[in-house]
């Protein structure tokens, strides 16, 4: 398809694409039937000399049963199948956050007009310490490990959008939202803001670098060295969604 979505780079994005494909086919068939019925009616049931419309109110029990039957069949065949499928995927994948997973890379995302800030805990695994790594508009993650984000916003509502990962989640002032995903393969992926957040909404773009595990560890080590030099003990950016070191 010439105008398709960016190539799916995530572990679970195929479930989103699958839902879209299923819906496209199912609704496409329904719509094709409608168009055929409409076409036959318009071609053959047009006004002609001497033609009299078939007189019916369509209000007999039999008529009701037919229309209700078709509607319920459509609901069961399309909506219910889709809902069952999606509820399952939400429970087992998208809303099954890697809370106890030691392999998960935890990130604190701070949104503001008009940039993203990403904070990683560093080697000690705690946020709000001297070895925190804070990056602006650039998220560095290892491929093949779950990435677990907790987001908040300093000013207005933003929405972190990863088109190649088929997902987005709002960043809301005064609240914490969360999102997890996993990169299947290394690469450079665009991220952006999906929620209108002011005049420069369109500029709130960033990038995610998914690198092999070893490369990421090397990057993290270098970044931690830099971070220690520039540590500011009074950050105001975080809500404390992760376990913050107090004081």
């Amino acid at each position: 398809m010439p105008y398709g979505p960016p190539r799916d780079a995530s572990l679970d994005g195929h479930l989103v694409d699958g839902a879209f494909a299923y819906l496209t086919i199912a609704t496409g068939i329904c719509f094709a039937i409608v168009v055929v019925v409409l076409g036959i009616a318009l071609l053959f049931h047009r006004r002609r000399a001497g033609r009299v419309a078939h007189y019916t109110h369509g209000d007999r029990r039999r008529d009701h049963v037919v229309t209700l039957g078709v509607a319920v069949a459509m609901f069961l065949g399309i909506d219910a199948v889709l809902a069952g499928r999606s509820l399952g995927h939400l429970e087992t994948r998208f809303w099954s956050y890697p809370d106890g997973d030691p392999a998960a890379v935890r990130v604190e995302v701070t949104a503001r007009q008009w940039a993203w800030t990403f904070r990683l805990a560093g080697p000690d695994g705690r946020f709000g310490t001297r070895d925190d790594v804070v990056t602006l508009s650039e998220l560095h993650v290892p491929a093949g490990r779950p990435i677990y984000l907790k987001l908040h916003s300093k000013d207005v509502i933003h929405s972190l959008y990863l088109p190649a990962f088929r997902t987005k989640i709002d960043a809301v002032p005064g609240q914490t939202t969360r999102l997890w995903f996993q990169a299947r393969e290394p690469g450079r992926y665009e991220l952006g803001c999906a929620q209108h957040c002011g005049v420069s909404h369109y500029l709130m773009r960033g990038e995610m670098m998914a690198t092999p595990e070893a490369d990421w560890q090397g990057w993290l080590d270098r970044a931690v060295q830099d971070a220690r030099l520039r540590y500011d003990a009074t950050p105001d950016s975080a809500l404390g969604a992760w376990d913050w070191e107090q004081g």
Binding site: G4, F20, V52, R60, S86, W95, T177
Partner: protein
Amino acid sequence: METASDNPASGASPSVLFSRDHKVIAKQFLALGLAFLAVGGFMAMLIRWQMAHPAAPVPLVGRALFGASGGIISPAAYTSLFTMHGTIMIFFAVTPILIGAFGNFCIPLMIGARDMVFPTLNMLSVWTMAAATGTLTASFFVPLGAPQAGWTAYATLSTAVGTPGLGQTLWVVAIYLNGASSVMGAINYITTIIRERAPGMTWLRLPLTVWGFLMTSILNALFVPVLAAGMVLLFFDRVFGTQFFVAGSTIKGGGDPILYQHLFWLFGHPEVYILILPAWGIVSDLLAFFARKPAYGYRVTVGAFVAVTALSSLVYGHHMFTTGMSPLLGESFMVLTMIISVPAVLLFLNWLGTLWRGSIHLDTPMLYCLGLVFTFGVGGLTGLFLADIVADMYLHDTYFVVGHFHLIMAAAVLLAIFAGLTFWFPKMFGRMMNEPLGKLHFWLTIVSLNVVFGGQLVIGYAGMQRRLYDPSVYEFLRPLLPLNQLISRAAFVLGAAQLIFVGNFCWSLLRGRRAPENPWQVGTLEWSIPSPPPHHNFDAIPVVHHGPHELGNPLVLARLGRDWLGQTEAAELAWPARTAAEDAAGGGVETADTAGAPAAPEGTT
């Protein structure tokens, strides 16, 4: 204030500006709505220019409108444009035309009443709407300019944190006044439909148009106050420094921005049905009239209207799937949203049933209705994609949403407006509209709008977010430029095609063929009186004997030599005389509008 001209019985023509005549008020709403439709449409053209040629000077009007930036639409101007385009189209174009104009004009005429129950309230409703439009227009001319928080005005962007300045405050006031006008109209419509139906106009003999307006009015009366409450809180946040919605570390606030979304969408999703229900009603009637058949499954259609109305407030959370709402809430809203597709499918099947084996007359109003059936089909089905949380994670806030709701709220609703205008124009103004011009307008419109909104679905599937000033900031959106340019060209054709309608409207108003009493040969009450109707509508309050779509009845054809029967025509005309006892029991009309009974025994023809 009671003057001779306001006396319904006098028959004198009322004053134009301070009239309490529902027909004059309908025309006031129509004029106001059409004017703002033009303004909102023009803004859409500017938005499409920016999408096709980002940061290129706008031809023709650029210097005049955006002189400070050399004819280029600035990011701030673009933000105001999409904010005001949405606001104007929904609250100040479609609402006054569809509900204000058609509701006012059709309800009393179709139920056999001389006017609304509360004519003065009706006049106040149009004045309040005028005040709202004045307030909204003023927001363009204040320091810091027009509002910029989007038509949904999400907090905290819409508070002083995100959008300082008087413009956004005026927007809040304008929406509040607009809502007050809607509620006044809704109270009037509900009371009129309940109290003022002509003798014999039972609930199941109401034209479906009236059913649509009744359901819309109930939703307006219930849910516009919720929006008004949100606007009052937002106003307090902006002006008095309260913190209902303010939160975050920029301003240390203890409010809840998500609360605003709950208030907004608890109104906002019913609003979709507020606008589509009258369209459904009009189309359900017109398909029957022009297929020369009774509306198929009338009682199921009415049931579908009622079901959609009842469910409409229970599905609003699907606008908020990405706010991090509780999983249980999200899943409930997803399932409820899918359930509402059942009544929508029933309605759609009944439309097809009405057309099937009809004798379809392709007059201009019918073309618009058929166009609506097509676009509503695409628009409705794409709604399913957004009801599904998994697909919505990707599609939310993309152009897929834009394409979906434009197919319904722009394409389908506007096609219903065109259908209604061409259909009732003879009754409103006493002249016929030009058919060839109408058909030309229809074909240009239907082709170009499907390219525009269908193209937006594709763009959204490719991942393009809404409300981007310049999509080329994102690498993955750059290949979409040719498609955006195609959409924009189609949009310009769509915009230009509307000039044909304006021309047809104005020309027909002055020079159109004089309309007969009943040009479409249908049986609802408004076609039993002169075009245009006298001030008091009906010389004598009609007595109703049939449902609204008594078309193609073989018995009537045999007895009267025509395929339609007026709602007022006595049953004795068409059926063997009944005994007085049967008539007293209400049995005399059973054949015409009761399910299960064929028109007449086979032998009587």
